[in-house]
């Protein structure tokens, strides 16, 4: 990036590269650029692209570069000056790579993919790109429903990237034309090539069929412990969102909360050994100088050898390295771990206000669990509690909203009864709108309307009268759009493109998201949003039905029925629930 441009942007260090820990790179036979469709500080905190990058780099003849979304000041300047968006290491325009891969971490980043392609000199739609342009690939959690991006992406990898990406890159090195590559790639497990699949619709707009014989099975990394994992983690030039070394303790989650997409698509649970984790942690900390280590997973408290791991890490890491344990559940919360943290505020996600509704969503946690966890937290000096809830879960009534207030009252009582209370307790309640996601038991559910959200907020506000309690809730329009993109089919792609053309990108940033433009985009291309937020029939063909994440649709239906009778299924740890995963993997529960 030339200096003249760098001097005119707000945070130039986002664009200069050269981070400590990034080896010098040279062009190779296959030049791959991994892209994160968000700004540097977010992208540099993401572990999955580092794993994928090391998988690619492990292939002889391949080099993996990086490129992240420029903030709007830089984006505007690039356009104005006619300079193409380039990668961080080789400083090469995106259009000059052989392959460009985007990670799909959240739906609201979809327009940012188009923004990056556009700035990188690459036509947006796949049929507009000839042999002279790179293969555009996408992967990551949102790829389980690839259809909204099917017009723009040449090839998706669904599932784990460790082995599938190596195979894909090797294949690219051996093939000549795009057509040959895509045809052969489509035989690799986890690979979906949209140009090879057509979708037929019924007159009422619902899906009639897919022109595909066998469903596309997700790629599965069966042995996480020996899978490729980076030994070095680049130190970001400017402070990133999670400025710490990160190891992945396990993949998948035993819990199966019925709203949670990650809980189903990342099945089965695969753990790493204490030995491997300790080695990986020591290597990352030593090579980076970070003073904090994140133990990441969907539910780290459920890692079967957590105590042993923490002991091993304490023995082997420098004394002053702090351990960060995100996503601890209330019932796995243990006083011993609390002291590792320097923060004064603790985050809990009961998700629902009553036991009944928590049973509906299979959030297997009781009032006693909550109380036990809180007591431990207060004993350890915590003076702030952050609570996450969802509005609009299936079967929700007024009582469940009032239940949120009861929880807050109870927490206050527990706090007053605990001996250590130098300060007044701060409680913040934040509520988001439930978004039905593919491959969950709630994938057929409708999303509640803006009017309903307003009523729920009003009710909560009227009942939650207590000082030092703050309430916040998500912008409805954003949740609605996320629901549409999450459950969208191929036709939604037109709206995404129109939204981008109208100026939407970096939509995950609340100050950038523009509901008006998005709504206009849907109207202009004649796609009805409410078609995607309605309740879907159980006999309907869903846009993602041709993808197989190994969790049976019948199992999801059974779970949905159990939800409606408030029946808890519970954790896989209490015995196999027969989700269907067994056909591909032997779970060690």
């Amino acid at each position: 990036m030339n200096e003249r441009i760098l001097k005119r942007v707000e945070k130039p260090s986002r664009y200069v590269g050269g981070e400590y820990g990034v080896p010098k790179k040279e062009k190779s036979k296959l030049n791959y650029c991994i892209c994160f469709p968000d700004v540097y500080e977010v992208a540099m905190s993401n572990m999955s692209i580092r794993i994928v990058a090391s998988a690619i780099e492990s292939v002889d003849g391949a080099v993996c570069d990086r490129c992240f979304a420029p903030w709007s000041d830089m984006g505007d300047l690039l356009k104005k000056e006619g300079v193409l968006l380039e990668s961080l290491d080789l400083k090469m325009p995106l259009k000059d790579f052989d392959m460009v891969g985007f990670t799909l971490q959240y739906e609201m980043s979809y327009t940012t993919i188009l923004y990056m392609l556009d700035l990188g000199g690459i036509p947006l739609r796949r049929e507009e790109r000839g042999e002279e342009f790179p293969i555009i690939q996408a992967g990551g959690p949102c790829a389980v429903n690839p259809e909204p991006l099917a017009d723009f992406i040449d090839i998706f990898v669904i599932g784990d990237g460790e082995e599938s990406m190596q195979e894909l890159v090797k294949l690219k090195l051996q093939t000549k034309t795009k057509a040959e590559f895509l045809q052969k790639a489509s035989l690799i497990q986890g690979v979906y090539v949209p140009s090879l699949v057509d979708v037929n619709y019924k007159p009422d707009g619902k899906i009639e069929s897919f022109s595909i014989k066998e469903p596309i099975k997700k790629a599965l990394c069966k042995d996480l412990d020996s899978a490729v994992f980076p030994t070095v983690q680049a130190v970001p030039n400017c402070e990133s969102v999670f400025d710490r070394a990160v190891i992945e303790v396990m993949r998948g989650c035993y819990r199966g909360c019925r709203f949670c997409q990650a809980g189903f698509i990342y099945r089965p649970v695969r753990t790493k050994s204490v030995k491997t984790l300790t080695e990986q942690a020591c290597s990352l900390v030593k090579n980076s100088g970070f003073d904090e280590l994140g133990l990441n997973s969907l539910s780290t408290g459920d890692y079967p050898h957590l105590k042993e791991l923490i002991k091993s890490l304490k023995e082997n890491l420098p004394d002053d390295v702090h351990l960060a344990l995100p996503s601890l559940r209330l019932d796995s919360f243990d006083g011993e771990f609390v002291q590792e943290s320097r923060k004064s505020s603790l985050t809990f996600a009961p998700e629902a206000g009553t036991q009944r509704l928590r049973d509906v969503i299979n959030k297997d946690i009781t009032e006693e669990d909550v109380e036990r966890g809180l007591n431990m937290a207060f004993d350890n000096g915590y003076t702030g509690i952050k609570l996450y809830f969802m509005f609009g879960l299936p079967t929700e009534t007024e009582e469940d909203i009032i239940g949120i207030c009861n929880i807050v009252d109870r927490i206050r009582k527990i706090y007053s009864a605990s001996p250590q209370r130098a300060r007044r307790l701060r409680i913040s309640v934040s509520a988001s709108t439930f978004i039905p996601k593919p491959f969950t038991p709630f994938q057929w559910e409708r999303q509640i309307s803006e009017e309903e959200v307003k009523q729920k907020v009003a009710l909560l506000k009227s009942r939650l009268y207590s000082k030092n309690t703050t309430i916040s809730w998500n912008d409805f329009a954003l949740s609605e759009m996320e629901a549409v993109l999450a459950r969208g089919d191929r036709r939604v792609g037109k709206a995404i493109q129109r939204a981008y053309e109208k100026g939407c990108y970096l939509d995950g940033w609340t100050d950038k998201f523009n509901a008006k433009l998005w709504n206009e985009a849907f109207e202009e291309v004649g796609v009805d949003k409410t078609f995607y937020t309605r309740e879907w029939g159980e006999d309907e063909i869903l846009p993602w039905d041709f993808i197989d994440v190994f969790v049976d649709k019948q199992f999801l239906l059974k779970e949905r029925k159990k939800a409606y009778s408030s029946e808890v299924t519970g954790s896989c740890k209490t015995g196999c629930k027969g989700c269907g995963m067994q056909k591909a993997y032997r779970c060690d529960v």
Partner: protein, 203 residues
């Protein structure tokens, strides 16, 4: 306590002040150099930097102070082994306690390329050099301009540092008056009030 002199080039000139502080701390950690920590609720490594300068200007004379018992030569060598590219240590001194790296550096020397030639002696005869401050008011900062001389096609100048005249403003005004194009600026020396290199006082 030791003082390091380091350069900031090859992209590192775009790192923000606080980020550099963080990078030096991490460099010390990677190098395994023991540095004292502050006491208190959020202990932090005792590393101090000289005053910040404009983002994007490469520098050959930055200083930092590190509270360590380690031998300065060793720290310098380890710094260069473990620092991000673009930050290079070029000198290290042991000091008795803290020295005023922020307060004692009041002048700086720059080399500027890209301003159209002008007669420096005429320029220095001027009694006024007006800059417009952030609040819109005008200020005469002639007394902060100490030396202006041509070295080939580059202008070598010594102006105040951290006290009311930024090099960006200075060059902007010169371009407005004499013309010029894309300019390149490098900070070459950090000076005390008597125009000696800051490190002279450490030797």
């Amino acid at each position: 306590m030791i003082v390091l002199k380091y350069t900031k080039t090859d992209g590192a000139q775009f790192l923000a002040h606080l980020d550099i502080l963080r990078h030096i701390g991490r460099t010390m950690r990677r190098a395994g150099i023991k540095v004292a920590f502050s006491q208190g609720f959020n202990p932090h490594m005792l590393v101090y930097l000289s005053a910040p300068m404009g983002l994007g200007i490469p520098s050959l004379a930055e200083y930092c102070q590190i509270d360590t018992e380690e031998n300065p030569e060793v720290v310098m060598q380890k710094f260069n082994e473990f620092a991000p590219s673009g930050l290079r240590c070029v000198g290290a001194w042991k000091t008795q306690g803290k020295v005023g790296i922020a307060s004692d550096i009041v002048k700086a020397e720059y080399l500027v390329k890209g301003i159209n030639a002008f007669d420096e002696s005429e320029f220095l005869k001027k009694e006024e050099f007006i800059v417009i401050k952030k609040d819109g008011t005008e200020k005469n900062v002639r007394d902060l301009i100490y030396k202006v001389e041509w070295v080939g096609d580059k202008l070598k100048c010594v102006i105040g540092f951290g006290n009311g005249l930024r090099i960006e403003k200075f060059t902007e005004n010169l371009i407005a008056e004499y013309g010029g194009g894309e300019i390149e600026v490098v900070k070459t020396r950090a000076l005390t009030a008597d125009e000696k290199d800051f490190e002279d006082g450490l030797k």
